[in-house]
Amino acid sequence: MAGTRIPPGVFVAALAVVAVAAPLAMPTPFYVDIMIRVALFSFIGVAWNLLGGYAKQLSLGHAAFFGLGAYTSTILEVNYGVSPWIGMLAGGVVAAAASLPIGAMCFRLRGPYFAISTIATAQVLMLLFLKFRGLAWGAEGTTIPNLGDAPLMMQFAAKAAYYYVALALLAVALVVTWLIERSWMGYYLVALGEDEDAAEAVGVNVPRIKRHVFAISAFLTGLAGTFYIQYIYFIDPNTAFSFNISVEAALVSIVGGIGTLWGPVLGTALLEVTSALLQSWLGAGLGGVQLTIYALILMAVILLRPTGLIGLLTDARDRLFGGGKRTKEVVFDG
C-alpha cells in the first residue's frame, strides 16, 4: 500500500507531529475551522470506507447512524445532563445496534438496490424524527446549552480543542482500519467486496462479516454525529440526518482512493480545502460554483483515475523512485 518507500512508521509519526502542531501555525482561527472540518469528514469517510471501500457495500445512508449518534448524546445531555463524552459512546452503541436491523433489510440487496435502500432508510429515520415531536424536539430542533468553557461537557473556548477531539477520533478510525486491513478481516472484506459467492466458497461467512463491519462503521459514524452537534451547537432532523452527510462520506473516500487507509483523508483534504478557499475568495454569490467543482472532481476521478488521489500519489512516488507503472487500481497484497 501507500508509503512503502519511506518506512511507514516514520511517515505516520511525521504526519502525526504535523497534524498535532498545525493549529499553532495557523494565522487565524478560520484555518483551524477548516482543519476541524477536514478531520471530522475524514473520520466519517474512514468509517464509511470500511464498509463502502473495502467491502464495496456502497451505502448512501450513513446519515442514519450519524443522526442516531447525534440524537442519543443530545437527548442524554439536554434532558438528563449526561456528559456528551459518555453520550458519544452511547450514541455509537445505538448506531451500531441500529445497523443490525438496517443491515438485515438492506443486505438482502446488492449494488444499486442496496444503495437506494440505504437512502430510504436514512430518509425514514429523518421523517420519523420530524413527525414524532415527543421523541426529540421535532422539526424545531434544539440548541446545545451554552456552558462556556466546559471540557467535561465537550465545550471548549479554544477552537483548537475541537480540532484535537476530531483528530483523536480520526486517529482511532485510522488505527481501527489499519488493524482490520492487516488482519483476516481485511482480507475477508476485500474478498466479499470482489465476489460474494467466491468468498462464501472459501468459507467466508459473508452475512456475518457484513454485519460486523456495518456495525463498526455505524459505531464510528455515530461518534461523529455527537462531535458534530457539539461543534455546531444545534440539532434538528434535517441536520442530523442530512443526505449531504451520506454523500460526503462516500465522496471523500472515492476522490481520495476507495478501499485505502489514507484515501478518505486525502479526499477530504482536497474537497474541504477547495471549498473553504472558494468560500473565502468568493464570499456571498458563490451560486453553485463549489458544488459544480465537487461534481467535476468526482467525475474526473471516476473517468480518469478510479484509484483517486492515492493513485496519483503512488504514481508520483513511483516516477520519482523508478518503476513508473501507472496504478490502475488498488491491489491488495498478502
Binding site: 470482489e194 465476489d195 466458497a201 467466508v204 461467512n205 491491489v331 491488495f332 498478502g334
Partner: protein
C-alpha cells in the same frame, strides 16, 4: 470404505424447468469421481445444490461425512470440509495471488503469518509461486483456475469439487493437471470433477456418473460407462465433439 458424500433424490426446479431430477449418487472416501454429461445436463447446478448456493427442493438429501448439508450456507459447507471451484474462475481480481489464497487459508486459523505460510504451500502445490504477487485479474485464464484450486486447497478440505478445471488446457497442461489431481488423491482427499476432457477423466477417475437432462443415466467404471449406448446417444445428440465452447451460465 466409508462414504464421503451421499446424495439422495437431489432435485431442483427453476420456474417450469426441472434442472436436476431425483439425482442420487455417492462418493467413497478418497475416491475420485467424475460427473459428466452434455451441456445443460445439470452438472454445475448439482454442484451449486451440494455446496449450498441453491436450495434443493424438498425431499433432497446431501450427506457429507455423516452430516446433512441441505439448508447450510456455502461458507458452513466449506468450513465442514467441502471446497469447490467455479466453472468460470472467480478470483478476487484486485487481490494478488497470495492474498487470494490467504483468504482461503484464514478458514483454518486467523493468524496472519500462519495463513501466509499455508497459502504459500498451496500456491507452490499448483505451481504459481512465480506469480504470488501478481494481481489475480492480470493472470491468464488458466492461471486463474490454478489460483482457484490453490484457494480451495488452502481451506484444507476433505472433499474437493472441481468444475471443469481443465477446459482449454493444452495436452501438456492437462498432464500437469492430471498429476496434480493424482497428488491430491494421494494425500487422501476425496475428489469430484466435472470434466469434458475424456483423456483426463480416464486417467484420474475411478468411477463416472453421467447426467442428462437433470437425470442420472449411467454410473460405473469409466470403461463400461463410456461404452453405454445411452451415454453415447446423449453425447452424440448434443454434439459432444463441439466442446469446449461457452458452457452453462455460471450460477
Amino acid at each position: 470404505m466409508a462414504d464421503a458424500l451421499v446424495v439422495r433424490d437431489l432435485s431442483k426446479r427453476f420456474g417450469g424447468l426441472l434442472a436436476v431430477q431425483s439425482f442420487s449418487f455417492s462418493v467413497a472416501e478418497n475416491e475420485t469421481m467424475a460427473l459428466i454429461g452434455p451441456n445443460g445436463a445439470g452438472k454445475t447446478t448439482s454442484f451449486h445444490l451440494i455446496t449450498g448456493y441453491h436450495r434443493p427442493d424438498p425431499g433432497s438429501s446431501v450427506v457429507a461425512f455423516g452430516r446433512e448439508l441441505v439448508g447450510l450456507k456455502p461458507h458452513d459447507i466449506c468450513a465442514f470440509g467441502l471446497a469447490r471451484t467455479f466453472q468460470v474462475a472467480r478470483p478476487f481480481g484486485h487481490m494478488t495471488v497470495l492474498a487470494n489464497v490467504m483468504t482461503g487459508a484464514f478458514l483454518r486459523g486467523r493468524k496472519l503469518e500462519a495463513a501466509r505460510e499455508r497459502a504459500r504451500e498451496a500456491i507452490a502445490f499448483v505451481g504459481l509461486e512465480a506469480r504470488a504477487h501478481t494481481p489475480a485479474r492480470d493472470l491468464t485464464t488458466i492461471d486463474q483456475r490454478r489460483l482457484e484450486m490453490a484457494r480451495a486447497l488452502a481451506t484444507e478440505p476433505r472433499l474437493l469439487m472441481f468444475d471443469e478445471v481443465m477446459a482449454g488446457l493444452n495436452p501438456s497442461e492437462i498432464d500437469q493437471a492430471v498429476a496434480l489431481i493424482g497428488k491430491l488423491s494421494g494425500r487422501g482427499l476425496t475428489i469430484i470433477i466435472i470434466e469434458h476432457v475424456m483423456r483426463a477423466i480416464m486417467a484420474v477417475a475411478s468411477r463416472i456418473v453421467v447426467l442428462d437432462h437433470g437425470q442420472k443415466i449411467a454410473e460405473g467404471e469409466p470403461k463400461e460407462v463410456m461404452s453405454d449406448p445411452d451415454v453415447i446417444r446423449a453425447y452424440l445428440g448434443s454434439g459432444y465433439a463441439a466442446k469446449p465452447a461457452a458452457g452453462e451460465a455460471p450460477c
